[in-house]
């Protein structure tokens, strides 16, 4: 008998408890931008209570935001007028740590999704009922900024009991209010304000180590800071930040610096230092030494040379050589200038690429080698070129590239064939792009992260490397006569070369499927098939055939844009691997796990090789299968800002990229681009070894 009674009493108590929840929450104000209400942790004013813990609770609609107490370059912080409240001596309004919004170059700090501003409400008469009257003044912005002004009221009768839900919500956000650095373990060690008020340099330390810190200095309402340059050092225990000052007028109040890092945050008012702290490391990639540039240029040169043997480019070189063999009657001079022109064509195209890259960088676009493989239009264009050339080698039609270009162009400018030779070279360079991904990652990524002069040097080296065979022939035209005589073998060679090109095209189709879905692949395949068919209709008049071909080619290029569907790559990583999430790394490491991050993409052949030869093979495979090791896969097949930013934090602009994190290496051990089992195993060992010194990253 007693048991049911007890149960009934518990239900009743629960019902009363939940009924009281309403008493600790004000009516909601609703607007398209947000839902706002006042909440208190206590159900009412308990006897002898002198203070109440409350919160201004905002649920912010998607796309909207509101601002911190220092809103940034422009904006208005929320404000509350408590006039009309009863038995309230004062309200302390607390500001949870903000997040940074950057839109069109304007830095703003504030909140999205949800925020609770904790309120410390002190009462005039202890234990007496109170009434809260909050006249709230908010600026909310999506692509429009709207003042949202409203009044929230909350009656606090004399009552005891705690509203667990409201209490949890308030304490959750109270924990996000920056402290003085004691509990958060953040200490500001120096702050230097340049005399001309051009920049602020701050250093901070945290023995726990920083993972992804941000900094929000406040220097009165008339000083604005730009985007900070944040660098970590000393095993991530040191943070160095430099912020440009965009504008500053009037007298300067004391400096306050808020530093956030994940869930913890501290606001500290440091004394100003006399000198700027030196950064823990210089972005030496920005100004590399001459020898380093020369070394990388050599790598680019070799990479370019090797490209000639790739299926994409080999046919062009072979045909060029074959045509030289055929053209027996050509003088040495003509032969030499022809090959020189081809080399010039290669280099010219590379310079064009360099110019385009520089242009993109100037415009602030994020550039990275391999990024072009994330673009369906580029893929479609490359497929069309490769398929046409391949079909041409198979003898499907005879707008023989580059032979007819040669004659056509020759006719056009009267210079027999030289323009055609130039075009051949440029064409070889165009064809080289799809095959360049596996080799040139390092060199090109280096160039992209460097100065303009680095870009020019690297791309030139690349071009010279690719053009080296042509330059060789130009230097010693006699070489041509050493080549075997033309004969039946040339037909077979053509078939082999055509096959290689078709394979490359097939690979690009596979990449495209990951980027733009199956429908796009089907569309482009149909377009290419029709294109080849039209071109091989020999009876057709030349103008009509060309017209139809051009129309078809255009339609094929547009196809992926229209047919772009859900890519199949969305299936997620294979079993055993977890999807990349930057925040998860630190959490897993804090539980003593070792995390291996593999940034890969369908179009990255080196990544595929790494996976097949090292990661998916014992002993690495079984090492990754151990419970304390978490393999994390970041798929960069399609562009992904989070992954791009992650790579940029290591100064990388291309992949493959692998890093191992662990308790002994919280900042990660970066693995070489070409993985080896030893390197991976050693990194896992080092990262996991508790007590060992963290190794560099």
């Amino acid at each position: 008998m007693t048991m049911p009674r007890l149960a009934a009493a518990a239900v009743l108590a629960f019902a009363i408890g939940s009924g009281d929840v309403a008493a600790a929450t004000s009516d909601s104000h609703k607007s398209p931008a947000l839902v706002a209400r006042l909440i208190t942790a206590e159900n009412g004013v308990a006897p002898e209570a002198t203070a109440i813990s409350g919160g201004l609770d905002l649920t912010i609609s998607e796309g909207w935001k509101t601002y911190w107490r220092s809103p940034g370059e422009v904006g208005i912080p929320p404000s509350v007028d408590w006039t009309g409240s009863e038995n309230v001596a004062g309200v302390e309004f607390l500001w949870p740590a903000p997040t940074r919004f950057t839109a069109f170059g304007i830095e703003n700090f504030g909140y999205h999704d949800e925020v609770v501003f904790p309120l410390r409400i002190s009462l005039r008469d202890a234990g007496k009922p109170a009434f809260l009257n909050a006249k709230v003044n908010l600026l909310v912005c999506s692509d429009i900024c709207v003042p949202d002004d409203f009044i929230l009221t909350l009656d606090l009768p004399a009552a005891t009991g705690i509203d667990a839900t409201a209490g949890a919500r308030i304490s959750d956000f109270a924990a996000r209010v920056p402290d003085d650095g004691t509990a958060s373990g953040i200490e500001v060690t120096s702050a230097f304000l340049a005399a001309d008020r051009s920049k602020l340099t701050v250093t901070a330390r945290s023995e726990r180590g920083f993972s992804a810190p941000d900094i929000f200095p406040e220097l009165g309402g008339q000083t604005t800071f730009g985007k900070p340059d944040i660098r970590l050092g000393d095993g991530n225990r040191l943070m160095w930040a430099q912020l440009p000052i965009l504008g500053s007028t009037g007298d300067l109040p004391a400096l306050a610096v808020t530093i956030t890092d994940g869930a913890r945050a501290a606001t500290i008012g440091p004394a100003l230092s006399d000198v700027a702290a030196r950064p823990p490391f210089l972005l030496d990639r920005i100004v590399p030494g001459v020898s380093e540039v020369a070394w990388i240029a050599l790598v680019a040169l070799l990479g370019g040379l090797i490209l000639n043997a790739m299926p994409c480019v080999l046919p062009v070189l072979s045909i060029k050589l074959a045509s030289a063999v055929k053209a027996h009657g050509q003088s040495r001079t003509r032969l030499r200038s022809g090959f020189l022109m081809s080399a010039a064509g290669v280099i010219a195209f590379m310079w064009l690429l360099a110019a385009a890259t520089l242009g993109a960088k100037t415009l602030g676009l994020s550039v990275g080698w391999g990024l072009q493989f994330q673009n369906p239009l580029f893929l479609a264009a490359m497929v069309v070129v490769l398929a046409l050339f391949s079909a041409n080698l198979f003898g499907a039609f005879e707008i023989a590239l580059p032979a007819s270009w040669q004659t056509q162009l020759a006719r056009a400018d009267g210079q027999p064939g030289l323009a055609g030779d130039f075009a051949t070279g440029a064409f070889a360079a165009v064809l080289a792009t799809p095959c360049s991904a596996p080799f040139l990652g390092t060199a090109v990524a280096f160039a992209l992260s460097g100065r303009p002069v680095d870009i020019v040097v690297i791309f030139t080296a690349l071009g010279v490397g690719l053009a080296l065979p042509y330059l060789l022939v130009a230097a010693t035209p006699g070489l041509v006569h050493r080549l075997p005589r033309p004969g039946r073998w040339m037909v077979w060679l053509k078939f082999v070369l055509g096959g290689l090109l078709a394979l490359t095209a097939a690979w690009l189709f596979w990449v495209m499927q990951g980027v733009a879905g199956f429908a796009a692949v089907a569309g482009v395949a149909a377009g290419v098939a029709a294109l080849v068919a039209v071109l091989s209709l020999r009876g057709l008049g030349q103008p009509l055939r060309l017209g139809a071909a051009l129309a078809l080619a255009a339609a094929t290029l547009v196809a992926p844009a229209i047919l772009r569907g859900t890519p199949t790559a969305a299936t997620g990583p294979e079993t055993g691997w977890v999807r990349f999430e930057r925040g998860e790394i630190a959490r897993l490491v804090s539980t003593g796990r070792v995390v291996l991050v593999d940034v890969t993409a369908d179009w990255c052949l080196t990544c595929k090789a790494n996976k097949a030869l090292v990661l998916d093979r014992d002993p690495v495979r079984s090492a990754l299968a151990r419970p304390e090791v978490v393999p994390m896969l970041a798929d960069w097949t399609r562009s992904d800002d989070a992954i791009t930013r992650y790579l940029e934090s290591f100064g990388r602009f291309g992949i493959p990229f692998n890093a191992v994190y662990g308790p002994a290496a919280p900042d990660g051990i970066v693995l070489p681009e070409l993985l080896s089992s030893e390197a991976v195993l050693e990194a896992i060992e080092r990262a996991g070894a508790v007590g060992a010194t963290a190794a560099g990253g």
Binding site: C141, C145, G221, G250, A554, I562
Partner: protein
């Protein structure tokens, strides 16, 4: 291949290929614009008559209109005068009295110096105007919705206009953060070479209040709930719109020459 054999097949092949080319050409013609630039669709506004807005605009209701502007005082003669001015000649109130060439597209921009997106939009519109070679004219309306500071700067801007320095003042306000205090305004007007005493006196001129009321009345008629807002020719737009939509709307307005202000 002999000539005779090819003739028949040739024509048939030609026909097929021609059809294919035509079909793909037409397909590309139809689909390319759809893919790369979605057409802007309009819907007419009931009020004010003769204007329109972009169909499917995101937000229009739900906010208390003009929370920032106090309207507690009962019959304010200035408010009534503002309403009359807008009633009598909405085009003049929007775009200014001067008649322009039919080739010129006129824009009325409503913004607040404390609103982040206004900064973006104002910079963009200034650029579009300066690049247009006189074919785009922007009339700047101050719509200070964000409290006292915002109203103070708006008045200072209008007062600066009387000294021919509106653009310079606006540009200064767009480059940094500021706190709208008399001391700050004095410093700014000094650095811009303005007469601060005159600026200060003009700021309390009822005519400047009237200008603000006219802008607010216009915004109320168009149902603008916040800033930035924009009237391009006959099209009203709320919120920050990208460069592409802005230039496209200008082109459409130039071509169509419609609405009561054309």
């Amino acid at each position: 291949m002999t000539k005779k054999r090819t003739d028949v097949t040739l024509t048939r092949r030609k026909a097929v290929a021609g059809a294919v080319a035509l079909a793909t050409g037409y397909g590309a013609y139809r689909s390319v614009p759809v893919v790369f630039r979605p057409r802007i669709e309009f819907e007419p506004l009931d009020e004010p008559r003769g204007f329109r807005r972009i169909a499917g605009g995101k937000i229009s209701t739900g906010f208390a209109p003009f929370a920032g502007i106090s309207s507690n005082s009962a019959p304010d003669p200035l408010l009534e005068r503002a309403a009359r001015i807008v009633n009598d000649d909405i085009c003049g109130a929007l775009f200014g009295a001067s008649k322009t060439d039919s080739d010129v597209v006129r824009l009325a921009s409503f913004s607040d110096y404390y609103c982040p997106y206004c900064r973006v939009q104002t910079k963009r519109l200034s650029l579009i105007e300066s690049r247009s070679g006189g074919r785009v004219r922007v009339v700047w309306h101050e719509l200070p919705l964000l409290g006292d500071g915002s109203r103070l700067v708006a008045k200072a801007a209008l007062a600066a206009r009387r000294q021919g320095a509106y653009a310079a003042f606006q540009k200064r306000m767009m480059t940094a953060s500021f706190q709208a205090t008399p001391a700050y305004l004095a410093a700014v007007s000094n650095s811009l070479g303005l007469d601060y005493d005159r600026l200060d006196a003009d700021m309390s001129d009822p005519d400047i209040d009237l200008e603000l009321h006219v802008s607010a009345e216009l915004a109320r008629r168009f149902g603008f709930i916040g800033t930035p807002a924009l009237v391009i020719g006959s099209t009203a737009v709320q919120g920050e719109i990208g460069e592409r939509v802005t230039t496209e709307l200008i082109a459409i307005e130039r071509k169509e020459q419609r609405g009561i202000c054309a």
